[in-house]
Symmetry: C2
Subunit: 541 residues, 2 copies
């Protein structure tokens, strides 16, 4: 028997109607190269509804992909709202990807229209221009100095809005309709598209309001440093709108000094980004008043304890870890310490905070062994992390459905190796592909990296497996020293011997200036492995 409750579609209209009711006066601030633009949610929504009318003028078909290359800006938020609520699909693209990946993504998505910040024209024009399906290229003038190409498809964002003074007529969308599309970063292969539904976006926004996740409230000032082309900026623009929070967007002004200035100037209470951002800001923490901060979230790659502690010392707010993937909307877990762990020594609690931690509601997780059987939830037994739920992808969009990424019973195989304890506390041990198999036993490269980075002389460390005749694989460490610090291999070796099993200590320690990164800022283990293998080949031990 069906319940007799209203259908109450979980679509992006929920956010718009709610903000209309109570939050039209709340602020949306965008930093620009030369200053900032201060607007309100009311103005943003009005412009978003006119943007929907622009899509009609451009004759963008229902469900067509509307691509964006943009910084975190008010216009990008207008696209976040105006595209899906008009029944089209927002397709955010990372302009930092290699051109061949962007070309693949645009071709796979068959983008119909492209919106691009003027300051990014130099980076993406060639690939945009040569994508066959693109009918219109809408330039958003962010004060960049790139020349506007003389191409008949090029139109100006504000000129189009000016042609549409009235909002588009409301379009009926179903909660299961596609709302947005984001491609994975492709660290493990070609980028693959994740097609979010309206329902998954609204549920995910609700999750971010939860007291034990990000607790986003009407009183918050939210600044997403995570780019808006990364998994809907981790859902933060939508959550901020649902909660009625102010939103501060760093725009193209992503230099550490600019970010610190925004955090301080707008009394930001909540921010989120990748560890590399928080590391870059750390030397500047003493230079600004950050007393408004209540929560700083890190995600996208492992959070070194030492970094979180440095923030705690400087601001009183440790960095909170989180865990998720493009396929998971992304939030799966958020490193709060549960009451069950209150009795632990402070150091253990600190280390827990650096782990993904308790999962959010609605998301199911399990850890399975190589045969797909669940392992003990004892905090020790590890296996592949698999996830399921209404905010998790069921398959990929486009030519490659990526079937092998999903189990027969429909769960997403994350490719991460993890443990769960009896309190539901999730710890990531390693990426499956980043585990090092030495003498038939597994070595966790992440653990060794974390212990290395805990040494005050080490700024960053990456550990990779190198082919070894005797053991199959052996770990090598690449280390970037902190400014003005010195330590040699003997010192690093001694440091690690006290902290990990002796056979986990890398065979070699190589001091380098910078660790190669992927386009999304993660350590490029692929590049390091190539480097190590060629070094090993030329300099046998």
């Amino acid at each position: 028997m069906r319940g007799l409750m209203q259908d109450g579609s979980l679509d992006i209209g929920v956010l718009l109607r709610r903000a209309d009711l109570g939050f039209r006066h709340k602020r949306v601030v965008t930093a620009t190269a030369s200053g900032e633009v201060i607007s309100t949610w009311g103005e943003v929504m009005d412009r978003a509804r006119r943007l929907s009318a622009v899509l009609d003028v451009l004759e963008v078909p229902r469900s067509a992909r509307v691509a964006t290359f943009g910084w975190n800006s008010q216009r990008h938020v207008e696209l976040y709202l105006g595209v899906p609520s008009a029944g089209r699909i927002l397709h955010t693209i990372n302009h930092r990807l290699f051109t061949r990946d962007v070309a693949h993504i645009m071709s796979d998505a068959a983008d119909d229209v492209v919106f691009v910040d003027r300051s990014l024209l130099g980076t993406v024009w060639d690939v945009v221009r040569s994508t066959a399906t693109v009918r219109w290229i809408v330039v958003m003038d962010d004060g960049g100095e790139e020349e506007i190409p003389a191409d008949p498809r090029v139109v100006d964002y504000e000129a189009l809005l000016a042609r549409c003074p009235e909002p588009a007529p409301a379009v009926r969308v179903d909660e299961n309709d596609a709302a947005s599309l984001c491609y994975t970063s492709g660290t493990t292969g070609r980028p693959r598209g994740v097609l979010y539904s309206h329902r998954s976006i609204v549920l995910h926004a609700l999750l971010l309001l939860g007291a034990d996740s990000f607790a986003i409230s009407e009183r918050d000032v939210v600044m997403p440093v995570v780019p808006m082309f990364h998994v809907n900026a981790w859902g933060l623009p939508y959550a901020a709108m649902l909660a009625g929070a102010d939103l501060v967007l760093p725009g193209p002004a992503m230099a550490p000094e600019n970010l610190i200035r925004q955090l301080s100037r707008h009394r930001v209470t909540f921010s989120a980004g990748v560890p590399a951002i928080w590391r870059a800001l750390e030397p500047l923490l003493g230079t600004a008043d950050l007393s408004s901060l209540r929560m700083v979230v890190s995600g996208g790659s492992a959070l070194p304890d030492a970094l979180s502690e440095a923030w705690a010392r400087a601001t009183g707010v440790p960095i909170t870890s989180s865990w998720g993937m493009t396929e998971t909307s992304p939030l799966v877990a958020c490193g709060r310490v549960s009451s069950a762990h209150d009795a632990l020594p402070a150091d253990d609690r600190r280390r827990l905070r650096g782990q993904p931690g308790p999962t959010v509601p609605l998301v199911d997780v399990r850890i399975v062994d190589a045969d797909g059987r669940p392992v003990e939830r004892d905090g020790v037994s590890s296996g592949e992390l698999q996830v399921a739920g209404p905010t998790i992808a069921a398959r990929y969009f486009g030519a490659d459905p990526g079937t092998s990424s999903f189990t027969d019973d429909g769960w997403l195989r994350t490719g991460d190796v993890a443990t769960l304890d009896a309190f539901g506390y999730l710890r990531i041990v390693d990426r499956t592909k980043d585990m090092i198999k030495s003498g038939g036993e597994w070595i966790s490269s992440v653990t060794v990296e974390n212990e290395l980075m805990a040494h005050p002389a080490v700024r960053e460390a990456a550990v990779v497996g190198v082919t070894d005749d005797r053991w199959g694989e052996r770990p090598w460490a690449y280390v970037v020293l902190a400014a003005g610090e010195e330590i040699d291999e003997t010192g690093l070796r001694r440091h690690l011997r006290e902290r990990v099993a002796s056979w986990w200590v890398p065979d070699r320690f190589l001091i380098i200036d910078e660790i190669p990164r992927t386009a999304t800022g993660k350590f490029s283990k692929v590049a390091l492995r190539d480097l190590a293998e060629s070094t090993a080949a030329s300099q046998p031990l």
Copy 2:
């Protein structure tokens, strides 16, 4: 185009799986007549799954109604979980209703099985026994001394559980399936059934975790004083489970001294109930350590400012108002003060806190005039409050669909008169039926009552409209004095003259010992109007 996200059904299994993952160790405490029973969510869930097997043993058909007459207890929570997750419908019944209403409700619902606390057998046995559809009567022995009737349909809860040592096989439910049924209190007519879906229950539980609603967290100790037969105890057992909070249930020990003792003994952080409960507890606030409290919620009828302030003085925690109905799951609004109101004087902020306040996400509200047109959202223009969304009823269950309670476009007509301001702040002016029409203008009985109750000599006040030859209707006030206080009609009249329009001052003030209440503890305006009309007839002014 459909999004490619997993279906992730929003059914009660979401709560069970989540608690299994992380919260099996958290506590569920039930006070009994003689002490208390301390259990865990793990034990509660295991027993709930065996209870599902009991339903199979009793051959309860899919979608059949399983009625309960029970206090707030662990076994009642087991029914909350075990009945809907097994595809049957939990039907909680208020044992304080008049027998004819209970008989109507049970007949309308066609209950198949009844679960009843032993201590309530004396109250409900006759009506349960004579309901034709009831095949089994399961007695839950709560230490009550009522005799167990010698009826072949009577079975013992624990004996049945003992017969089912294994959990029932999982039943597949759809999120739109019916999960539970609750009848309105029938203040405006015969009780009518609201049939909640799994989806509405899960979404409502998520809403209670929101930072700006109840912010229920893993660290909370939640004590629902609101009975479990009132709108799923306002969703609190489900929300506590989803958050992983401890749950403290007062059982039959509802005397104020017992409630205060439970709040203190278990370091309760969050509690919710009707104003009458908080008023009854107020004189005892100095007798116990209530320093653990972070939020006390009032709902079900208007919260007098003076009561909230008395709590704030004694505990540091003002009472937070909330607004909802059986038809709305129930939470629609929660009286937090928004940042927009921070600049108001303290007294104005205090008064705001006594109003329903900002709405929760997912729920749409509008205020319409007599012609169904939206009124200005200026905080002054009033009209009928109408609500819509996935946690709102679409129609009623049973013989009477109550079509007139819904608009043509499917919104619920609440029957309350309200205003909205530009910040989405909801204020209830009055029940439509409690407005007094005097000389063609409306008088708000709630406003006059609140101003009367703000006088220190007044414990409670109810204002009703009495037929008047000249004005149509005129207000009369019924007043209960605070212990040891005295005030006469002249004093009350003078007090009101400074606070409301002169023509709002009641024609008569009658001091009585107690205000008659409905079975759900609300002022019975019907009884008072009858009383006033007969007084007017016998003692013309």
